[in-house]
């Protein structure tokens, strides 16, 4: 039905329009209650659905956070166990290496002290002999001089002087010997001091290790208790580990790319330069496979050395088998490195051949012989040999990356879920308010009948006015 037909119900289009508006408003007014209910039901249902989804998201976020916490704690426990284990191994090694010599040390110390005691005994000063002459001299002095007492005294004096001289000589000799003995004690004292200093150093080293172990044990206990502080520390450590390991992996990727460019070209000589697997050249895939095999061998070597723990099966192998595996992987790596060095050499040869051919085809002079060419050739060969061994160490950042990736992915997941939950909650509330707004918009064209309704209601209240007024003022 076109607008013209609608406006043709009376000869005057304006009157027709007014009639239609009145009819429409009347219909809308009559359907107002039902329409409001429909709007409220629809927006309410959508709002409840969104809030339910938001609640579900929040619940999922909590579960993920809990799981992330468990993962962090488990990783932290494992790391701490490794650290404490290593510290104990170091302490054990110190005890085995240094304190195993303790009996020998003790014997050396006892011997040194014994010798010092012996020397000390020998160095004791012998007291001078008590004079036995004094009484004899007294008796002789009482004799009459005529009886020859003076002669005797003179003889005695002479003997005394001689005896004194002899005693003094003996005393000096004894003193000299004692001093010699005391001088001989000096190096022994130094030996004792040195031995004791050594012992002190070792004991102090053990003490410092024990302090470190105590600290790690304290952190271990915190993790076992699941304290928030421990979780926070582990979380930040995990992020740092993630970024650092990612950076190192990028560097390793650069190394692998260089390695690839070194061997991809000569690989064409082995597998052909024109065969393809899918859209990739077979030579490129072969070069890539060699690099991947090298990285895998590096992983196995690191696992066998128990430096990394990506494959628990390898770590749990008996020691004999593990050592065999170390040698096997090392030999394979050595072979691959040698092959790469050969390929790098071949690359240079091919390059020269290609340059010579191009020069011939271009009609220019042959390529000038470069006397320093051997340097680049040797450098390429060296890189070809060293890079496979350098790639072995990729295992360490790779393990850290994989371990920290779980936590980082968990954190990202938590962030995403939280954002979704927020958006859903806001949308749910928005829908509720949208329903109210829709009701008001519905009422907008009905302002005339609504105004009349309000007036009629006001008149009705006016007839029962006092009661209503009293109700309003009652506190």
């Amino acid at each position: 039905m076109s607008m013209n037909v609608l406006l043709a119900i009376t000869p005057w289009p304006a009157v027709s329009a007014v009639i239609w508006v009145v009819v429409l408003v009347a219909i809308l007014y009559l359907a107002r209650h039902t329409a409001h209910q429909a709007i409220r039901t629809a927006t309410g249902a959508i709002s409840r659905g969104l809030r339910l989804a938001a609640h579900s998201m929040a619940h999922a976020e909590l579960r993920l956070a809990e799981r992330n916490r468990d993962v962090l704690l488990a990783a932290g426990l494992e790391a701490k166990e490794r650290i404490v284990e290593r510290e104990f191994a170091r302490v054990g090694e110190t005890v085995r290496k240094d304190l195993a010599n303790y009996p020998h040390l003790h014997r050396a110390l006892s011997e040194a002290i014994g010798r010092i005691e012996e020397d000390h005994q020998n160095a004791v000063e012998v007291p001078p002999e008590a004079p036995g002459w004094v009484r004899a001299v007294e008796t002789v002095s009482k004799l009459d001089a005529r009886n020859g007492g003076s002669d005797v005294l003179a003889d005695i004096h002479k003997s005394l002087v001689k005896a004194h001289k002899e005693a003094m000589d003996a005393y000096r000799k004894a003193s000299s010997e004692r001093h010699e003995l005391l001088r001989g004690m000096m190096p022994r004292w130094r030996d004792v001091q040195q031995v004791l200093t050594e012992v002190n150093k070792k004991v102090e080293s053990l003490l410092s290790r024990s302090v470190t172990i105590d600290r790690h044990m304290q952190e271990y206990e915190d993790i076992v208790k699941g304290q928030d502080k421990a979780v926070s520390i582990l979380s930040s450590s995990s992020l740092v580990h993630f970024f650092v390991s990612a950076m190192v992996l990028l560097v390793a990727l650069g190394g692998a790319a260089i390695n690839f460019s070194l061997i991809a070209r000569p690989m064409a000589e082995m597998v052909g330069g024109t065969s393809f697997i899918g859209v990739f050249k077979t030579a490129d895939i072969a070069a890539l496979v060699i690099i991947m095999v090298e990285i895998s061998m590096g992983l196995f070597l690191m696992e066998s050395l128990r430096i990394t723990r990506l494959f628990p099966v390898i770590g749990a192998l008996p020691d004999k088998m593990r050592v065999r595996m170390i040698w096997i992987t090392f030999c394979i790596l050595l072979l691959l490195a040698s092959i790469e060095a050969g390929l790098a050499y071949m690359r240079e040869v091919l390059l020269q051949d290609e340059l010579a051919t191009s020069a011939l085809l271009r009609g220019t002079e042959a390529v000038v012989e470069n006397e320093f060419l051997w340097i680049t050739t040797a450098a390429q060969m060296g890189m070809g040999f060293i890079l496979p061994f350098a790639l072995v160490f990729v295992a360490i950042p790779l393990e850290t990356f994989v371990n920290s990736l779980r936590t980082v992915l968990g954190l990202i997941g938590i962030g995403v879920l939280r954002a979704f939950a927020l958006v859903l909650r806001v949308s749910g509330n928005g829908m509720r308010h949208l329903g109210t707004l829709a009701e008001r918009l519905y009422d907008l064209p009905l302002f005339v009948p609504l105004w009349l309704e309000t007036r009629l209601a006001a008149n009705g209240r006016a007839s029962h006015g006092p009661v209503e007024d009293l109700r309003e003022v009652t506190p």
Partner: protein
Amino acid sequence: MRRAVILACAALLGACTPPVARNTGVYLLLDTSGTYRAELRKAEDVILYTLARLEPADAFAVARIDTGSFSEKDIIAKTTFDERPSTANAQKRVFAQRVQDFIARSNSSQYTDITGGLLQAVEFLNEKQTGRKTILIFSDLEQDLEEGYMRDIPVPFQGFEVVALNVVKLRKDNYDPREYMARLEQWKAQVEKGGGKWRVVNDLDRLDGLL
């Protein structure tokens, strides 16, 4: 799990599909008739350039256009390069030497059978089954058949690109350039009618887009 198995099977099936030929086949026709023989030195540059651009496993042949060109005897040098780059380089050197020897001792022919040469080129490249097929015609495109030679036959050029190189103007073209235009147009029509692509390159200093 099931999805992974399906993906793996799809990848295996993809890998087992017959290999698509990615190599290039080039057949160069050299006009040795009359005065055009003087242009052969330029042709040598084109041949060397082509050799430099070709990769292992590509096929290349150089043939002369003479009185009756639909013949293997007119092929001066032909080779399919080895898959190993070093061997391919050695083949290129031998090929270049053979072409240089021919140019040094070639004689001019009395007639010019371009269509016969094209037929021979199509046959050669189809036999090689290369992924990309290009015929280079180093000629003034003036066909001059000896009596008795039947060349009014359609040549199947599907999948071929035909490039006319160094199409020099003849003396009569200077009098009436429409003849030159008509000659080019006639060959273009013939190639496109056979399902091929037609191109003319007269600036031999800029061969970058030739292959």
